[in-house]
Subunit: 141 residues, 4 copies
């Protein structure tokens, strides 16, 4: 089962066109990612800090907007992480309203690096575990 | 009993000093305000839109920062609305962590206007009801 | 010559990893778009409002992150708009530092709609003119 | 002469009420503060980082909203820093449009601490110099 995250659209997410500002959808996806890490037992304060010896910055992101979102709307984000190489993974996000209408979809690609040298590094064990926790693609599970 | 709203500190709420960026605390208070309106049956999409015939912009805000907040922290915001005049109210916010330590407090003052002329206007009935729903100061309740 | 826009990275653009939060790069690109509209004589307050009879929401966005950006950095965004159909265009953004190192690139795709029915609509004349103002691809110019 | 900073209101600064979202005014004031630090020769990347041995977080902020601000508006922020004690200062911000109409005013209070122990610490020399650079209140200058 994919990880899912429910969220309410806030007034500050909107812009003067009356709907969610386009670039505000990606942080909502990142919130779902943060919650999925917490659900796998990862301490996100140290995970996202500069002192952890490893950093996994986003190297690519994309988002498709299918329907407008309004203040007060409830949205559900389904998260599908996928391992790419020993130092890269990507996450697909499917965003729906409470009537099962798709509102948006997005993708982020993450690469593991040494935060000082910024050279590539193997993904840490807890992230490999997290990838297995929420990876729906393995038919044997 | 005051209205309370629980929220998780997100990575995007933080800045390069490693803690929540000061100006991001006020939107968290506004989220609590939005949730309290929903809890009183108010449709916040139309309430905050430009077409509703009435607008209640914030005319003053202040915030005191007592302790730093970090990514992943759970916070609880208690909301204390108070009527001021027939066209003004204010809200006090008390922000705590899960160990009952106070992290911040804030205040917003709101004035009811006609959105076109921007002249003052009586508070609408649903807001007067909302003020009564969450006003703890009346000893008779 | 492409339109270019210079901007300073702000403290609020950063996150607890010490660099610009990934989703904050797209609003910087949108700022460049807004400035290019102003440079073509378009009133952006009415252009982006709900009352203008036409809306041109972003239907797709993507961004590649090549190097981290830090508080205080100066960045230059080059903007390359391109017409797609009679109701769609896209913009490519190339982001550099002051030493001509590329930091990021991005793309937004825009579709013209009627804001009420949300059905497709021809691009307005001022946007066709703007596309010609900043379109570098036509060799005859 | 006070430090002044000119800025354009961006689409992302607005909300579904068609004007600048209230909490977005404080970051604009902080941008003016950042620019004034740069103008006094301070490296703001290291100044705002976690590794600098000193941190000067904001402990209080307030803002008054006098007139609405719209996408595309040019605003001018005048900055008036004032020393309070050996480890505290505050900044007053006056925000005007290009017709000299006041739009908002704001205040931030800053306290110097050791970032690890979070106990109070004397203001560093470069900040004392900055306070003198932009302090208009000393009649002898």
């Amino acid at each position: 089962m994919p990880f899912s995250y429910t969220r309410t659209i806030r007034f500050q997410d909107t812009d003067a066109a009356g709907v969610v500002y386009f670039a505000n959808v990606l942080p909502m996806c990142h919130e779902a990612y943060e919650e999925s890490l917490v659900a796998s037992g990862i301490n996100i304060r140290s995970f996202f800090s500069t002192n952890s010896g490893v950093a996994i910055p986003i190297i690519h992101a994309s988002v498709d907007f299918l329907r407008p979102m309004f203040c007060g709307d409830k949205i559900i984000i389904y998260l599908f992480p996928k391992s790419l190489t020993s130092n890269k993974f990507e996450i697909e996000y499917q965003i729906f309203d409470t009537k099962q209408q798709q509102l948006a979809k997005a993708m982020t690609r993450h690469a593991c690096i040494d935060p000082t040298s910024r050279s590539r590094k193997e993904l840490p064990t807890d992230i490999i575990d997290w990838l297995q926790d929420w990876n729906d693609l393995d038919a044997t599970k």
